[in-house]
């Protein structure tokens, strides 16, 4: 029953990861919803690993190789583009301490609006 135990282990990982996803995200201010969506979007680019694993197996036909190169390219776009776009969005939340000459608080102080 080696297969069955692999399945149960993987299902356990699946369920636990699901709970972590719920817990980590349930307390996010509205402000950060767009960057957060973009950030999680980058993380599912991890499917790239699937492409990398399969392309390494022997017996891929020429057509399969084409599909897999496209899949790897897609995964890379998802990861690289996703993280860069999120970073650009978030760059704007960075505190700029020297910016306020008129004595108002900077974004840094405000954990919660």
């Amino acid at each position: 029953m080696i297969l069955a135990s692999t399945l149960t282990t993987n299902l356990a990982i699946l369920v636990l990861a699901g709970f972590i996803g719920f817990v980590v995200i349930s307390k996010v201010p509205n402000t950060l919803h767009t960057p957060l969506m973009s950030g999680t979007n980058a993380i599912h680019g991890i499917v790239l690993l699937g492409g990398l694993l399969i392309v390494g197996l022997s017996g891929n036909s020429a057509f399969n190789k084409v599909i897999l190169v496209i899949a790897i390219a897609f995964g890379t776009i998802n990861i690289v583009g996703g993280f860069l776009v999120t970073d650009r969005m978030l760059e704007m939340f960075k505190s700029k301490p020297e910016r306020r000459a008129d004595g108002e608080s900077t974004a840094k102080k405000d954990e919660k609006p």
């Binding site: 767009t34 957060l36 950030g39 699937g50 190789k65 190169v69 998802n78 860069l84 969005m89 306020r100």
Partner: protein, 475 residues
């Protein structure tokens, strides 16, 4: 094995790779935690990116020999497309860019399932559960790929933003496509090795992705993108089970779970139920109603000039700025910041009221205003802003429409009835900067514009705001 150097054996040992994967998960989780707070978000995103790099390196160490050329080619192609796209996209086009990046992720998922199918001659000798998860990934990935591309097309205005629907037949067609895709999957899981069936399944799923997103009006698009994001996450997790790869399972499922929560939060903010969004047509029905509504409004619209608006603002004690998508398209955030500075010089108290779904995505306005250096504490979320309107002298609505529409409170027949709004009509007077009297995203008329206390300043948001600032400086 004895020929392999010791270091290489160690690097390729399964337990070492598992440790790298575990480090990667920990970084993903820590990164997401960081993303949930404004001060830690930048670091959080970078931590997650480091986790991703570790996961990719671990996989490259683990994989069997050969085909490095293909890997380099794929990654180089992806980077050549992804990096410039992410660097050059305008802030206003972020939502569709997220849709596009989500779409390619779904594309990768279904292509990987397809190659698995081909490599194993139709899952010959594969455990049934692996086949099922791989097929699930193929269907969901394909739906996500096509759905996201349609969402991109609509937001980029390549496709019309209005709902494109088959009417009453739509639900039947959707259901039929879903059943066909699942039936093809069941056929393969039950032992069919026919690639035609597999391709048929992908095509049904592709058509389903189109059929689900095409009827959805622009107003619901953020929720749809978030939902498709969760779908891609789930399909990645399914790929992970099919390939017995814990990194894929964890990362995919975290995205699936958090994406579902985010989708729900957005739907709640708009007072829309997810099934109603999927049923589609929102904005289509509204447009009809809006057309008849236009005739009903006997009230007149008062238009004003930049000079008058400037005087009104200069003598106010408290001004609330309500930004919307119009501000985003006009890239008016810097002009708005200048106006705020000018008003603050005159001891006018200025704050910004941000509706959770203003713009085309939650947080869209905050991102733009933060870009223009608007202090974070001047941005008020809806619950905080609404009680303040009654002691506000002037509400300056810049390119926001549906989120200020009193019909959501007063007109039970309105398609947006029940959606929480920014109650700008409680303030003493309202100035609306808008390009024309055209209805907004939801395609419905806004009663606010016909109220006696409202004045309209027609024009591009950036030009109009700059004109007001110039007039203020001369006062």
């Amino acid at each position: 094995m004895s020929a392999v150097p010791l270091a290489s054996t160690f690097l390729q040992s399964t337990s070492f790779l598992d440790v790298l994967y575990i480090i990667a998960f920990a970084l993903f989780i820590q990164g997401l935690r960081g993303l949930s707070g404004p001060t830690t978000a930048v670091r959080g995103n970078r931590i997650a990116a480091v986790g991703m790099t570790i996961a990719v390196i671990a996989t490259l160490l683990n994989r069997n020999e050969g085909n490095w050329g293909l890997i380099v080619l794929g990654i180089a192609l992806g980077a050549a497309v992804g990096v410039p796209a992410a660097r050059q996209v305008k802030m206003t086009a972020m939502p569709q860019m997220v849709a596009l990046f989500n779409g390619v992720g779904g594309g990768a998922v279904f292509l990987i399932s397809w190659s698995e199918f081909r490599l194993t001659d139709g899952y010959t000798g594969t455990a049934t559960y692996i086949t099922i998860f791989s097929l699930f990934a193929a269907i969901v990935g394909s739906v996500s790929f096509w759905g996201s591309n349609i969402a991109f097309g609509k937001l980029q205005e390549i496709l019309p933003g209005r709902p494109i629907t088959l009417g009453a037949a739509q639900q039947i067609v959707n259901l039929l496509l879903f059943i066909l895709a699942v039936a093809a999957g069941v056929d393969i899981a039950a032992g069919s090795h026919s690639e035609l069936v597999f391709i048929g399944m992908l095509i049904c799923a592709a058509l389903l992705g189109n059929a689900v997103v095409l009827p959805i009006g622009g107003a619901d698009m953020p929720v749809v993108i978030s939902m498709l994001n969760a779908f891609t996450g789930l399909s990645a997790a399914a790929t992970g089970i099919a390939l017995d790869n814990p990194a894929l399972i964890v990362a995919g499922m975290i995205v699936g779970a958090s994406g579902s929560i985010l989708t729900n939060l957005m739907a709640v903010a708009m007072n829309r139920s997810i099934p109603a969004i999927i049923a589609g047509g929102f904005g289509g029905g509204g447009a009809v109603e809006g057309a008849s509504g236009a005739g009903e409004h006997a009230g007149t619209v008062r238009s004003t000039t930049a000079a008058d608006a400037a005087i009104q603002l200069a003598y106010a004690n408290r001004v609330v700025i309500v930004p919307g998508y119009g501000m985003a398209v006009a890239q008016a955030q810097h002009a708005v910041r200048e106006l705020t500075k000018e008003l603050e010089k005159r001891q006018v108290e200025v704050s910004y009221a941000i509706h959770p779904v203003a713009g085309r995505m939650p947080g869209h306005m905050n991102v733009l205003l933060a870009e223009a250096d608007v202090p974070y504490d001047q941005l008020k979320e809806m619950d905080e802003a609404n009680p303040e309107f009654s002691r506000t002298d002037v509400s300056l609505v810049i390119g926001a429409n549906d989120v200020t529409n009193p019909a959501a409170k007063n007109t039970p027949s309105s398609p947006i009835y029940g959606m929480p709004i920014l109650e700008v009509s409680d303030s003493h007077s309202v100035i609306v900067i808008k390009r024309s009297m055209n209805p907004g995203f939801a395609g419905i008329e806004n009663e606010l514009y016909y109220e006696p206390k409202t004045e309209m300043l027609f024009g591009d948001a950036k030009t109009a705001v700059s004109e007001i600032t110039a007039e203020l400086a001369q006062l």
